[in-house]
C-alpha cells in the first residue's frame, strides 16, 4: 500500500510542521481577537469576530511607530556600514598577500564567536565617555561588534568561490586591481553581498542586549527594547496589543525572508556550517 503509507507519512510530517509553527499561528490569531474573546474559557481557536483595533491602537496610542522608525534607521545604517567595510576587507583577505593576514582571519573568526556580555561593559564606558550614549548612533557603533565579523566571515567564503582566473584575465587586459574588482568581482559577488546584507539586517533588527544597556530614552529605543517596555509598563497586560506588536515587528523579516529563499542554504550560518 504505497499510497496509504505516503498519506500517513505526509500527515505525520505536516503535524510536526504545524506543531512547530503553532506559536506563530497563535500570535496571529490573538492579535485579531477582540478583548472579550481573549478571556473566554475555553479559548476559541479561530476568532469568532475579527478586529484590527489592536493594530490601530498600537499605531495611534503607543510609541510603536517611533521604535519602528528607529529600528529601520539603526538596522539600515549598520548594514550599509558593515557590508561596505566587509566587502573591501573580504577582498583583501582572500586575494592579497601580506604579513598578518592569517592572524587577521583568525581574529575575525574569534570575534564572530565572542559573547556580547564580555564587550558590553567597556563599550558602555566608551560610549558614555564619548558622550554619544542614548543615541541610535551609539547602537550602530555597538552593533558593528557582532555584525562586522559576521559579514566578513560570510563574504569571505562567497569571495573564495569566485574563480581567480576571471580577475587574472582582466589584469592581463590591462585593468588595475581596483578596476578588476569593480568590473569583474563585484558583479560576481552581488548575490553574496545581497544575502550578507539581508542576514546582517536581520541580526541588527533582532538585537536586544546592547539596546537594553546603551539606550534608555524612548526617542532612540529600537523595537526590541521598546516593545518589551510596553509589556513591563502596562498595568494590565494587553496580550492582543503585544501580539499585534510582535506581528508588525516580524513583517520586515517576512519580506527579507521571501528574498532570502534562494540564497538561504548558501549563506546560512555565516559560512560556519559547510557540508
Amino acid at each position: 500500500m504505497p499510497t496509504f503509507k505516503k498519506i500517513l507519512f505526509n500527515l505525520f510530517a505536516w503535524s510536526i510542521v504545524l506543531a512547530v509553527a503553532f506559536p506563530l499561528f497563535w500570535m496571529l490569531v490573538t492579535s485579531v481577537k477582540p478583548g472579550f474573546e481573549l478571556f473566554r474559557r475555553p479559548p476559541t481557536i479561530l476568532p469568532e469576530t475579527w478586529t484590527f483595533e489592536h493594530y490601530w491602537k498600537l499605531l495611534s496610542e503607543t510609541n510603536f511607530l517611533i521604535y519602528f522608525r528607529n529600528s529601520i534607521i539603526l538596522s539600515t545604517a549598520t548594514t550599509l556600514v558593515v557590508v561596505a567595510v566587509a566587502t573591501l576587507g573580504a577582498f583583501s583577505l582572500v586575494r592579497f598577500k601580506y604579513r598578518g593576514r592569517e592572524s587577521l582571519a583568525f581574529l575575525v573568526l574569534f570575534t564572530y564567536l565572542l559573547p556580547s556580555v564580555v564587550l558590553i561593559i567597556p563599550l558602555y564606558l566608551l560610549l558614555v565617555g564619548l558622550g554619544v550614549s542614548n543615541t541610535i548612533f551609539s547602537l550602530v557603533i555597538a552593533y558593528t561588534t557582532f555584525a562586522l565579523p559576521y559579514a566578513l566571515w560570510l563574504l569571505r567564503s562567497f569571495m573564495a568561490g569566485i574563480p581567480e582566473d576571471l580577475e587574472s584575465a582582466a589584469l592581463c587586459d590591462g585593468a588595475t586591481r581596483m578596476g578588476a574588482f569593480r568590473d569583474v568581482i563585484l558583479p560576481q559577488l552581488l548575490p553574496g553581498i545581497i544575502s550578507t546584507a539581508l542576514f546582517t539586517f536581520i541580526l541588527s533588527w533582532n538585537e536586544y542586549l546592547y539596546a537594553l544597556v546603551l539606550v534608555n530614552s524612548d526617542a532612540s529605543r529600537p523595537l526590541t527594547t521598546g516593545v518589551m517596555n510596553m509589556l513591563i509598563s502596562s498595568f494590565n497586560i494587553e496580550w492582543s496589543l503585544l501580539m499585534a506588536a510582535s506581528v508588525m515587528m516580524s513583517v520586515p523579516l517576512i519580506i527579507v525572508f521571501a528574498f532570502l529563499q534562494s540564497y538561504l542554504t548558501r549563506g546560512f550560518g555565516a559560512g560556519g556550517v559547510k557540508g
Binding site: 512547530v20 506563530l24 576587507g89 583583501s92 566608551l126 501580539m243 542554504t265 556550517v273
Partner: protein, 298 residues
Amino acid sequence: MSTQQTLLEKRYAVLGMALIAPTVLIFCAVIVYPLISAIYLSFYSVFTPTLEGEWVGLGNYTELLQSGKFWNALGNTLIWTVGTLSLQIILGIGIALVLHQNIWFRSLARSLILFPYFISTVVAVLVWKWLFNDLYGILNHFLIKIGVIDFPMDFLGTMPNAMISIILVGAWKYFPFVVIAVLARLQSIPDSLYEAAKIDGAGPIGRFFDVTLPQLRDVLVVIIMLRAIWDFKEFDMIYLLTGGGPLDDTQTLPLLVYQEAFALNDMGMASAYAVVMMLIMLVFMLVYIRRTKNDEGV
C-alpha cells in the same frame, strides 16, 4: 623583470593593507580595545553610577571563586546548554530527515520550520509568555483538557518548571539552524551509498546508522560546537523569560554579568565574571576555529 614583479607585488600588498585598514581600525576600536579593558577592569572595583574605582588586584577573582553565585550560575549555564543543545540536535536531525522526503508542499513546510529561527527573541518570548499564561494560556488549557494536569501550571515561576521551559523554548527557537545544516548535507550524500546498503540487506534504520549518520558526522561536530558556544552565551531569551528566577535558579553566567554590572553596580566584579566566562568558552572557541581551519585550509 624580477625586480618589476616584486615591485608589483609590493604595491599589491600595500593595496591589500589599505583595503583591510577600515576593518582593522573598527576592530581595534570596538572589539580589541574593549576586550583588553574588560580584562583590565576586572582587577578594579568600579561603582557603576560614579564610575570611580580602586585597584583590587585578584580580589574580584578570589571572591568569585569563593562565592556560591558563580558556581550556581555556572551549573545553570551547563544544564541549560546541554539540555537545549541535545534537544536541538535530536529535533533538528529528525525533522531534517522528514523534510528531506518528498512531502506535500515541501518548500512551504521548510519555510514554516525555519521561521522560529528568524523571528526576534523578543517576539518569541512574548508569544511563549502568552502560551504559558497561567489563566488564559492555551498550553495550560490544553494540558488540563487531555488530563495531564488538574490545575493550571506555573511554567516560569517555579522549579524545575522554569528550567525545563527555557530549555524547551530555546530548542524551539534554535533547532531550525540544525535542520538547515543537516538538510544541506543530506542532499549531497550520493544515492549509490544507499543502494549499496540496500543490496547488503540493510533496512531503513540500518541505513540511517550505516550510511546517513557517518556521512553527517563532520557537519554535526561543527554544528554542535557552534551551537554550544552560542547557547552558552545566550542572554536575551533567559533574561526575558525568567530574569534568572525563581530566586536565581535559572541565573546563567551572561545574566550574572549583566546583573552585577547594571543592578548591583559593580563593573569590576562583572568584568571578572565575563573574563572567566570567556576563558571557559575559549576552549570550545579554539577547537571550533581549528576545525574550520582544517576544513577550509585557511
